[in-house]
Chain length 268, copies 2
């Protein structure tokens, strides 16, 4: 089984509840990669028999680190409207909530289509070397990341600050795997904290909350297949120990798949 | 009492519950202005005796229209960490949830501060006429809006599409009122749906979910006082009957107060 699908394996445990477990291959510095947690919460709703339509929007709040081991996901359909449906989701370990989420699912309708953003200029990923992460974070091995701009700062050297917080990269699952909404939720969190790039060094940082808006429909995701996604992310403001970062994810042919935003805690 | 504070009047009704009511002066096309609902949910958490720190981030999901009359807000502190605290909030009428929210509160810390965005160029609001909304939406009267760019399309004329989705405006409460986090949450939703501007006409549209990141701390909000905020908003992509819009709110002296994002349903 693909490592992404393995991480999203959930057993129904009754009344909108699902049992899952962390996997060592998705470990981040503390707890699992936030993107895989986001994908797992989304998948729990996708598995729910009352689910209506496809993912439209997802907000995930990283309440406390998920410990190695089993967890329970509690999904609750708050309301089902004609064209959309609202969910509250919680990830529990023992008597503690570790992650919360709200999700909007729904039906898309044909109509006026227009984009005000275009994919950034980027050489073909075939000509860019796969990135080797500069420190041993296990989950990186589950992605093939090819940096176009704003690669991670090197470790063990003097800090090399950057005036720009922008990273642009090609990314796909490793091994390749067809794109779906859960995989798109995970890739929305692929961008390392922008403060690393600006400061040119690693500092304590962690996402507090992330929101994903799913612009693509199912046929567009199907057309993307297992190909690379072109992602670009930047920050707007750093103050009070928090900064925001916004990301755009484009399909290989320039289709906007998702936009996402997060607020990140940091110490610097 | 100021109409904003009147709308946020809540009576404690036990166990993290609060009773409030809609006011005719905050009416939108259907239900109250989404910004006043967001502010009311935030205020309920602010009033909670276990509240730790100040607002950091807020996501509000507009589940169903709030009907005229009383409502109950249920606040739940999911977890209190050393530096932050996570909340789930629901607004109920009878046996129906009308709005959900997650909120992060917390302590800000001094440290590295940097901004990658600056306030847009704008003439002084004293020289710009206050906007008269082109149709009779009552809540507009609670704000003094002075459009720098991207004013509302006129009604009763042929559609005048715009190639840009950007609106920039000065805005403050009417009558003026000192800025606080709840007022900032409300102003985050001040921008009319970007699809109106692009299409040059009014079409059915409604915010499904909104996220606010509070960049300002209390002293910065206090320094803002009751002065105008300079806000700018734009869309990125319209498809499948949804579009996103992102907004930046700056204080009179250029301080970034908040960034916000929303996903909006539309028919066109």
């Amino acid at each position: 089984m693909h490592p992404f699908d393995k991480a999203l394996e959930l057993e129904a445990s009754g009344d909108g509840r699902w049992r899952g477990r962390t996997l060592p291959e998705w470990a981040n510095m503390v707890g699992p990669f936030g993107g895989i947690t986001a994908a797992t919460l989304l998948r729990a709703v996708e598995r729910h028999p009352q689910r209506h339509g496809q993912p439209i929007a997802l907000t995930v709040n990283y309440v406390a680190p998920v410990a190695d081991g089993e967890f329970d996901i509690v999904t609750r359909a708050v309301k089902t409207n004609r064209s959309n449906q609202h969910w509250i989701v919680e990830l529990w370990q023992g008597d503690e909530v570790k992650t919360t989420a709200t999700a909007v699912f729904g039906l898309r309708r044909d109509g006026w289509t227009e984009s005000e953003i275009t994919a950034p200029q980027a050489a073909d990923p075939a000509g860019i070397a796969s990135s080797v992460p500069p420190f041993g974070v296990v989950w990186f091995d589950n992605y093939d990341m090819r940096f176009v701009d704003g690669a991670m700062p090197a470790t063990g050297e003097d800090p090399t600050p950057s005036a720009s917080s922008t990273t642009t990269l090609w990314v796909r699952n490793n091994p390749p795997r067809p794109m779906d909404f859960a995989a798109l939720a995970a890739v929305s969190d692929i961008f390392y904290p922008r403060v690393f790039l600006r400061r040119g060094e690693f500092v304590p940082a962690g996402t507090v909350t992330m929101t994903v808006y799913f612009h693509a429909d199912e046929p567009q995701l199907a057309a993307q297949g297992a190909d690379f996604v072109l992602g670009t992310a930047r920050a707007h403001h750093f103050s009070g120990g928090y900064f925001d970062q916004s990301a755009h994810l484009f399909g290989r042919t320039g289709t906007l798949l998702a936009t996402s935003h997060q607020f990140v805690y940091f110490k610097a």
